[in-house]
Symmetry: C2
């Protein structure tokens, strides 16, 4: 196990009707809130509910709506100006990963004199932030406790992540009931995103990581078990709760301590999404099996362990390669079974785009822990993902 | 899953040579430290090392040594007086659970005008504390990130726990190398203590707790795999690291969220230890199998799941009771295999004491989640633990 630091100080409030507790949390940070949200929360009645709590408690607020998936830098900048102008004490994100990542980026930008995009280009380091609180509406990104914000600069079509322990939310309210109305496609994409967060860390070439391996397998198995259940019955409280808690665990950092992690699937999917604005989780469902097929020979024991412990593949001790391949096959089959695309062609990406996408990944390469990837490797993976 | 709050804000610094980082952490809280420790840290050179770091960094310190297993209230009171007299900013615990629990209790007591024992008798609630930092030397109690302090009042022979999120340490430094010199018996007792923390939460009659079940099984399996390895090779870094991180995970709260937990084994073992000052982990190795034998009929499916998933027992679907019993047998065999006693008679407790011990448990009963226990039940368990 490698040396590590772990400090996840987000307060979690989990369960039925917990969104009413938001005012007690806000009051620890001040009395003026920027409310950031997806417009969809108005349709499900959550907007009225939250605004009602704020008004009843005498908490002032200003609003920033219009967050979209793969959230945009321009909205972040608008939020920064709004916070400065209105002297906001806390940013309350009501939504999923895109809303929370927007809120985190605003929080980073408010006290910083330069351009907030500097942080995403690693030209500057965050020293202080405005606090962020969360009411979650989608189980997917795990941004509700993570140290990460992912923003798309729509002028350059670059999608980039920023990581710092300072940007973890101060509190996150997780009520599985708020997820009942998430459409099937987005529920499945969220499940795949959470699985990918775990798999990115699971696929390491480090040894001596047994406990985190087992915790990761436990979390993956939980998502694999319950994702079909919520698709069948969207208001299955327990299934939503299991997946919600699993997707939070997937990205709070605990499953990645003491080990290197791969990260290639998120990096490649990020290039696809940056250019074509595809749904994040669906893009991961396409890229992940292709990446697995391309790299697994570099660490067959790990892929065999994944097959056996996550997918209950019977190990063939005379042919661990076949065991590993069967695990990859089941991963792809699972993604298909929950309604996800598994080929780029299914989401309308033209074959001639593959080289462009691969070329753009050159800004990040070399990437990878299982196998180090350069631009030509990324192109091969994209070809496997296309056919 | 039940509603829950989870907030574990202890900063973990894990790995080789990490104790040198202690001064950076201390300086965030002030410049005057109370150093609380077991005398044994002088024998392993850790005392000189830590004192060297403090002096080099210009951090003032006063000392409180003489902490013993099942730590005493009188020493806590001495520490409180010392902190008040010397205007201490932070209490640095260098040791295991007894040292950390002492430090936490001192931290609670300093700003409180009444008797610190009030907290343990639930006559008062903690409102503020002096911060506690940790350099850990034993993998066992999990007090390095827990919200719990257990102290023995030697005037009344009462051993009692106090729980509050306010008493979690601010930082904990976990270097597996510092554990190389822990004697075999205490290493094994520590492993059993950590296993018991997991099992106390695992044995619930709640349903819909699948993810936490799986995470708990993952952590138990890790301890079961690596405890024999450290006993064979005390300086096996990886095995020490796996057990150390598992014992921290066992008690940071994450394995207990959203569910009721049993707690009977710690409660009964606490009465035994309060009277006879037996080693905590060894006492749990005695009480746990007896408790299991007495209560398992009340929830055979859960004990069968434990047998199959933790101990790899082949399930007999026609006789889940036999499956459950085999899991209990393997638990007891494992404790014996790592050198732990499994009967009260092995640690010198006379048969005539059983009634006294059971009677004293009356101050806590009813206890239990799998099966509610009253004093006569406790007596039956003690009899099973005696023979």
């Amino acid at each position: 196990m490698r040396n590590f630091e772990f400090h996840c100080d987000t307060k979690i409030i989990f369960g039925k009707d917990t969104e009413a507790l938001v005012v007690d949390e806000i009051k620890q940070y001040g009395n003026k809130v920027l409310l950031v949200y997806y417009d969809v929360i108005k349709q499900i009645g959550l907007y009225d509910k939250v605004v009602g709590y704020l008004k009843e408690a005498g908490i002032e607020f200003v609003e920033l709506s219009g967050v979209v998936p793969n959230p945009r830098l321009s909205l972040v900048k608008e939020g920064i100006e709004l916070c400065r102008r209105e002297n906001v004490d806390l940013i309350l994100a009501v939504g999923g990963g895109s809303v929370i990542d927007t809120a985190k980026a605003i929080g980073m930008g408010v006290p910083y004199e330069g351009d907030v995009w500097d942080f995403f280009l690693r030209k500057a380091e965050v020293k202080e932030t405005l606090p962020v609180g969360v009411i979650l509406t989608v189980a997917a990104a795990g941004s509700e406790t993570s140290n990460c914000s992912v923003i798309t600069n729509e002028e350059t079509n670059l999608k980039r992540a920023f990581i710092s322990p300072l940007i973890r939310p101060k509190f996150s309210i997780l009520n599985p009931e708020l997820l009942y109305t998430v459409p099937a496609y987005h529920t499945a994409a969220g499940g795949v995103d959470a699985m990918s967060h775990i798999m990115e860390k699971y696929f390491t070439s480090d040894v001596d990581v047994d406990l985190t391996d087992r915790l990761s397998e436990a979390t993956l198995r939980t998502i694999i078990k319950y994702l079909p259940k919520v698709l069948e019955k969207p208001d299955d409280y327990n299934a939503r709760a299991q997946i919600l808690w699993a997707s939070t665990m997937a990205q709070n950092g605990i499953l990645g301590v003491g080990r290197g992690s791969d990260g290639c699937c998120h990096a490649i999917a990020g290039e696809v999404t940056g250019l074509y604005d595809t749904i994040h989780g669906a893009t991961l469902a396409i890229v992940t099996p292709a990446w697995m097929k391309y790299v697994f020979d570099a660490n067959i024991p790990r892929f065999a362990q994944f097959a056996v412990r996550v997918w209950d593949v019977e190990p063939d001790f005379n042919d661990l390669r076949a065991t590993a391949l069967e695990g990859i096959r089941r991963t792809e089959e699972f993604f298909k079974s929950v309604g996800m695309p598994v080929r780029l062609s299914e989401v309308g990406i033209p074959e001639e785009a593959l080289e462009v996408i691969a070329e753009r990944s050159g800004a990040r390469t070399p990437i990878g822990a299982i196998k180090t990837l350069e631009v030509p490797d990324v192109l091969e993976i994209l070809k496997l993902a296309y056919k």
